[in-house]
Every structure is written in C-alpha cells, then in structure tokens.
Amino acid sequence: MNSRAQHIADALVKGAAGRRLNPSEAMALVDEPTPDLLQALGDAAHANRVARHGNRATYVFNVQINPSNVCSGRCEFCRYSVESLDDPRAYSLDEHEILEKVTHLAPTEVHITGGLNDLWPYERCRDLVRELRSQHAALHIKAFDAVEVEHFATASGEGVAGILAELIDAGVNALPGGGAEMFSERLRQRFWPGKMPARQWLAVHEQAHRIGLPTNATMLFGLGDTWEERVDHMLALRSSQDRCPGYECFIPLAYQPGDTDPVAHGPTPFVSLYVLALARLVLDNIPHIKSYWPSLGVPAAAAGLGYGADDMDGTLSEERIMHAAGASAPGGLARRRMAEMITIAGFEPVERDGLFHPVAASRGDRIGTRVSPQDDSASRPFRVSMIPYGNMAPYVQLGPPEGGSFVEEFPRASLASLRAGSVVASCAPVGGLPRLRGTVDCLGAFGIAARGPVQSVLLLSHVPFDDLRASDSVWVTDETASSVRLLCLLLGRDRGSGDLPRRAFDLAQASAALVIGDNAFLAHVRDGLYRGVRYPHVIDLSGEWYQRTGLPFVFARWVVRRDAPAHVRESLTAWLEQFRSREDELVAAAVPGEAQRLGLPADRVADYHAGVVRVLGPDEIRGQEAFLREWRLYSGTLAGGEPQWIAP
C-alpha cells in the first residue's frame, strides 16, 4: 500500500473509532473522491454512527412554518423569496392560520424560519412564539436562524444576546441551522455578498450556546464549492463546538438547481453520501447527522442512514423553501411512511422529540398504534371504497392514501360496506347519506358533482321523459343509490304518485333504463345505444336537475366513518388536499388510459372529465342540500316513506 493510501486507511480507522481526525487527515479523505473511497468512508462512518446510536434512526413529527416569503436578503440561489407583496408568488401568513394549523396537526416540534421582511418584524415574530407557547406547553419551538436573529438585533437595536434572551423567554427551545450556506469567503463573495460573514454566523450560535440554547448547523453544497471548502466548513463548525458547545445536529443541504438542468447540476447520491460520511467522521463533537430528504431526495437520504446519518428530518408539512427551488421530493411524508422507509433501509425507526429523546411510549396515539376495528394491526392498510368508474380515474392516478388501500365497489355497495365498517371511507352516494347520518362525517368538500349535463347518469328511454306514465316501466341499474332517487324526484314531483312508472326487472320489457357510470357514458357517446338497443331519448338527469333548479347536482361525497382513528383521518385529509392541488394534472394523466380503456378518442374523454366537479364549492353544497331537502319532502309524501323502486 502506498503512503497516501496508508494515510487514508489510518484516518479511516481513527474515524471509525470516533477519534479526532486532524485537518490533514480530513483533507486526505477528499483528495480524490471515487466510489471506492466513498464505500470505505461509508463503512467507517457507519461504524462511528453505530457506536453512537446503534441501529436506530430517528424522526420527529414537525411542522415547518415559513411565515412569509418576502425577503430583503435576495440571495443568488434562492427561488423561494420575493421582493415584495406585489409579486404574485408572495404570501404572508397570519397568526390565526399558523396557530390553527399547529393546533390541528399537534406536532412535537415546529420549525419557524423564513424571509427577512417588514411584515413579520421582530416583535411580531417574538409574539408568535409567545402565543404558541401559551397554547402548547410542551411544543418544541425551533425558531429563527442566525441570519434572522442578527436581523432582529440590528432592527431593534438590541444586541444578539438580548434578542436571544427574549426569544428564550418567549418560548424558543432551539435555533435552526439555516443561513450558514458555505462558509468559504470565495463563495460568500460570489453568491451572498450581503449576507452575514461566517464568523458572525458562528458568533451568534456560540452566543446562543452560552445562554443554553441548543442549535443546529447546515452546509449548502453543490454550487461550485470544492471538497476542500466543504472540509473547511466542517472544521470551522468543529472548532466552534470546541469553543462553545451546543450544536445538536449537522444538516448538509444539496443545492437545488431549479430550472437549470437537474441532471447536470442537481444533487447526486455519490456526492450526498460522501458529504454525509465525511461529516460523521470529521464532526466528532456533534452528536447527530441529519439526512434531509427534501434536499437530498428520498432514496439518497434513506441510503444516507447507512453512510453516517442517524436522523431523517421530520415529517414536514408544507415545506416551501426547497420546493420553490424545484426540489422534487414529495412535500409531506406521513409519519407512517417515514417509519416504513426507515425500516426498508434496515434501521429501527424511533420517533423523537425536539431534544433527540425518544418520544414517550405513553403517547400511543402519536406513534399510531391505537387499535380500532379498521386497523387492528399497524401494518394492515385501511380500506377505502373506490367506485370503478372513469370519473374516479384521477384518484387512481394519485394512488391510495398513505396507509390505505382501495377496494372496488359500486356506489350502492359502498354504502353497505360503510355501514358495516368493512371500509372506513368512501366517495359515497349522496342519496344514501341520510341513512348514514351519525355514522360518517364528510371529509372536506370533495366528491363527484356536475353543473348541468354530466353524460354519465342517463335515463335512456323509448318514450319522451314527460310522457312516461304509470303504464310505462323503468329498469334501474343495481349500482345506483343517488341517481335513482334523483330520477324518482324528477319523475314524481310533477306527477301524482299514482302516475309514476313502475320498476321493471327485465330490461327488454322496460320503456326506459336508468344507467350510470361508464356504461352510461358510452351509451351517450353512441347516441343512446345500450346493450344492443337504441333508445331515441337520452335524458341527462343532472342536466334535467340543473334546468329545473339552476343548481349543480352532487352525486357523491367523500366521507369517513366517525370512529376512524385519527391517523386514518389525517391520511385521508392529506390525500384529498393533495388531490385538490393536483387535480388538473391527475385528470390529464388519467385521460389517455381512460381513452384506451373505453376505446374512445382522448379529447372526447377529456371533455367528459371537464364536466365532472370533484372539488366542491358553495354552489355544489347548495345543490346537495337542495336535493336532500327535496328528497326528504318528497319521500315524506310516499306511503312507506320510500318509493317502491328503492331497494333497501
């Protein structure tokens, strides 16, 4: 073995044992980075990590709050910030929104950081912390990085020490590690000339440590920095920790190139894993190394647990900063998925608190082990009933919610399943909801509705609609629960009950057929051809309803059983929100497959989907209420309370 290789081998032995590497040894590790050397580094870093943390990998249920993206900093690489509220991408949250979100999600930790601006001046920030603390005694508040603290200090005229003391008083538990970027003077001049110099960043952190505030430290790499600069950055942190200990966790962040070519400039696992391993070996005095998945991407971050990292960042809700720069990692990972990922990586997932202690076992709910009829084993997915019609295809594109699985059922069958508890949630026919009152809650305002013709709820008739009489009969598909009631209502309102057509059980004998879903849509496309019979009159029931009432018709609503466990509701709520924000994209993605399945041109199918309303607005809700009210009135006039047509 030549002397250079020996030097490296010796350094790795030291590093694996947790002993300090001198600067020359640290630099030797990056002299010529290759995959071979990465693996050797990873091996040593992993040994070091196991000695400290065993096989555990921690994650924390945290919520990231970025109060506003208006920022005077204007750092070169940042795609998150805007100059003023006039920018269309600008936003500024208010206390109410922030507090409500924290109350609703009840996280272990909040991470508050954002832009430097006048909308959220120091006092407002401090008071936000006070309010959070007063409402949540145990919440770990990790708020305001060194850049923000310095900004507050300057703006208020108090010193950094004074600001920090007040923030501690208000309830801050720790400082996040942002704003460090790369300490190298060369890069600071190039990219962040106005930003606080490295020594000042370190000074703020040391000041925080002195008065008992633990902090984190970051490093932004991948924007033209050299390996030597990365090692220097780590050595500077190590020295700072020696002078004034208090850093809890080091977080390497990969530069996100945004619109520029991610293949050529984005994070790559080779570099990310190398940085993690290097960090574990060099930072002998910093306890934790974090794999930050919004920056490194999920697969590399998970692999990173085997290259020195012991913490995966928390289950972020609405991480905005990395995503503004085009990070393609998913915006929020449910805790369950985090634990699964850590398990797939071969480690033991441990949920922790803000101080890196395992969350107390007594908080059973938090860890998701509560037993319920729907979920008596943490690994069994909860069941969500899915109507197998084309109008639900965009949901299939999205895939099931975290921890859930789809069960295909026709609309009427899903009501029975909901009642029996064999599914926990469904996009249930509105017509069946009154019978489910008390058993289910609506999940936000999502479902299937249409304003005007929907093309997939049709009465196919040999006889004009207005001429249907007692001598006629109507065949009704077994699948429906809403549409049949709608048909009754439309037929019955203007006629006496003695004049209603009968229900036919033999399609061949019937004067009309009520058809829904894909069969209906195809019949519509084929001008009334259904099961070999051409019906001259094609009556769109949603269109009829709209003509009479001027309101949309809601066919189905997403509902969840009232006794569903909290984590199931959380997952479903997040899933529907995801759907809301991606609806257009999911519909567009579903169209080609649907077109192929139905054997129709794509634009015809796209046109159909354009008429389906899935995210319900006030008009849709009014339409739903009007229907249920009308139905209640109408069915009250019938003997037995239900028309003969409605099967139990």
Binding site: A5, L12, I344
Partner: protein
C-alpha cells in the same frame, strides 16, 4: 488516475461462501442499507475493479403490439383488429432499424406481443430484412416467453425455433417475460404466459446451443420477499449448469394504466430497488453483469444502483414503446446518460451486446463525439470492404 485497485480497508463480502436463501432474505429485507450496498459494491469490484460503467447504443422497436396473452401489468398490447393494433412488415421494421442504425445504434433489441398469426417464417423474415438493411447491426431478438408462445401456437419445438435463429446468425436473446419465476405469482399477473419452468427451459436450451441470454425480473407487485429470492436462486442454479446468462436486469413494476396497476396502486419504494439490485449481485455470484436502470426507475435510484453492485447502465434507447404506454415517460439522450454516469462517480464506457467494452470515455467526450466515432468506424469498415 485511480485505477481502482485500492487497498483501503474494504468490507468483506461473501467470504467465498455462497449466499444461502435464508441469508439472501436477510440481505433483501434486514441488513442496513449501507452495509448491503457496500457488500454488493465489493462483489462488483472484485469482478470488475475500477470505475467503468458500461452502456450500449441500442434501439428497441416492437414488431407487433397484437397480443393474446393478456398479462395484467401490460398497457401496451392490443387485440387483433383494434384501431391501434399494428404488426410491422419486415420492410417497415428494417427501415426503422436502419434509421436508428444511421443515428448510431449498434444493436437492436427486437420484441413484440404474442401474435397468434405470426409464424417462425415471419420471425426469420424480420431478421433477414434487418440484416439486409443493416448488415453490421447486432440483432438481439425475441425472448423465452415469445419462443414458448410460438412453439405452442405452431407446434414447432423450441429447439427447432432456436436452431433456426442460430442459423440466421443470432447469438443473443433478451430475457423478457421472466417477471417473477414463481408460478403462484404468474398465475395472478400473467396466467396465460409461459410458466417459470417453461421460461427456464428455453433459456437452458438456448444456452446449450451457444446463445448468451440476459435474465430479468419485474418486482414490486404481488410477489413476496421469498419469491424474489426464489427467482434469483432459480437463475443461479441454471447458470451453474450452463453459464449462459450474461447479465441480470431487475426493474420495478409501474402501476399506471394496466389492470394490475389498479390493484397495486403504489410503486415500490426506490430504496427497495436498490436493495433488490444489491441482493441480486450477492446472490448471483455466477452472473457477470448486473444492470442498474435510470430509465426504468429514476436517475437517483439508477445512480444509487451503481453504488450497490451494478456495473452496467443498459441501453440508450432510440425508441421504446412498452414502458411509454404504461404511463411512464422519459426523454433519453446519450449526453444525459454520460452525465448521469459521470456524476455518479463513474467512467462511462460503450459496450456491445456481448458486454465487451468498445471504448472508455474520458471526461471531455460528449454524446456527439461518441456517436461521431461510432459512425466513423463504420465508414472505415465499409471502405475496407467488410
């Protein structure tokens, strides 16, 4: 430049002892990912020291999308008579291949649906027409499942079909149709397709005749961990007998627009891909090459695969129908692949279909340079009358 013959302390892998099925299961599911990757990387480095990752310039036309086998994971096939059904004539196919060849493709991976009306003579016509249009392209056609289907449809025994191909100069056959080599899984995802035993029998016959074939695996649907291991062990056992597999290529099932996709709604975690690949490298101690795919997975997963035992990055496709139809889109250029390999820490090298390295590329070589050299070599060959 670092030759890669490093003497840094490296994790020991295998200790010259074969990985048992129980150990394989442990590797697949429990060993911490870093250890697994490093062990697999070590196995790769023992076989192929250095930083080279190979790729091949190929084109993947499909001669027909008519198929009666109805695999539940496929959104590519069409019934005969369907508006979108097609079967290429030998001339059209050869024309497509020629176009790709002129852009630089050195090999053609030719596959298609199981068309009940096609005969061995049609297969041979395809091969001959391609030969006539591009005498120097390497033809890498069909697959064990297509061979089984042709044999059942026409009554021609498998050795006869393979013998006819051999006589036409074919020397390699792709490993398509393997999916998971367990009949329980096959019954659920592709009940009409060749059984595991039938697939393996074709591969074995082909190897004994002198063909080299690849082996594949599609995971991430209804299979169990044990079944993945069983698949690998069955390949290893056959390789012990014949030595004819040149490489192993796993990929994850993409739900998308297929019947199975509606049942299995979430694709396998990318880390699972890395684990499968690394486990394959360690179990398949008798198969030279393990292919990681950025095309079928993601760039990050593909790059992680190179750190987890893979030594090859597959084909730079000039055309690819099957994955696109199932809702999975990728743009593919040679420059992208070269960049991806380099940024993963490796040195890209162009190979042929027998996995011989044709040329290693230095840092400066761009896609256009590589293709220019490919085309220049041909002119040289033509001028020398080859």
């Amino acid at each position: 430049m670092n030759s890669g013959n490093t003497s840094y302390p490296r994790p020991v892998c295998g200790e010259n002892r074969r990985v048992s099925p129980d150990e394989a299961l442990e590797l697949l599911t429990r060993v911490p990912v870093g250890d697994l990757m490093r062990r697999a990387y070590g196995a790769r480095a023992e076989r192929f020291p250095g930083r080279v990752v190979t790729y091949v310039l190929d084109t993947n036309p499909n001669y027909t999308n008519v198929c009666v086998t109805g695999c539940r994971f496929c959104a590519f096939s069409r019934p005969q008579g369907h508006a979108e059904a097609y079967t290429l004539s030998p001339r059209s196919l050869a024309e497509r291949v020629r176009k790709s060849y002129e852009r630089g493709a050195t090999t053609v991976l030719l596959q298609g649906g199981h068309h009940p009306g096609l005969r061995l003579s049609d297969w041979l016509a395809y091969v001959r027409c391609i030969r006539a249009a591009c005498p120097h392209i390497h033809i890498h056609p069909f697959s064990p499942s297509e061979v089984v289907f042709l044999s059942k449809t026409t009554g021609a025994p498998v050795p006869e079909i393979l013998g006819a191909l051999y006589a036409e100069g074919i020397r390699t056959i792709p490993g398509g149709g393997a999916e998971i080599l367990c009949d329980r899984v096959r019954a659920r995802i592709a009940p009409e397709k060749a059984t595991a035993a039938e697939w393996l029998a074709v591969a074995e016959t082909a190897h004994r005749m002198g063909f080299r074939t690849t082996a594949t695996m599609m995971f991430g649907h209804v299979e169990t961990d044990e079944e993945i291991i069983e698949h690998l062990v069955r390949l290893r056992d056959l390789q012990d007998r014949t030595g004819g597999f040149s490489s192993f290529i796993p990929w994850s099932f993409k739900p998308g627009n297929s019947p199975l996709g509606k049942e299995v709604c979430q694709s396998a975690h990318p880390l699972r891909y890395v684990r499968v690949l690394a486990t394959a490298r360690l179990v398949l101690d008798n198969i030279d090459h393990i292919q990681s795919s950025w095309f079928s997975e993601s760039i990050t997963a593909g790059q992680l695969g190179l750190l987890a035992g893979a030594d090859d990055f597959g084909g730079i496709l000039f055309e690819e129908n099957v994955l696109q139809q199932a809702g999975h889109q990728r743009a593919t250029t040679l420059d992208t692949v070269l960049t991806v390999i380099r940024r993963a820490g490796f040195v890209p090298a162009r190979r042929d279909s027998l996995y011989n390295v044709i040329e290693e590329h230095d840092d400066a070589a761009a896609g256009a340079d590589v293709l220019a050299r490919v085309l220049a070599r041909r002119t040289d060959c033509t001028e020398r009358g080859r």
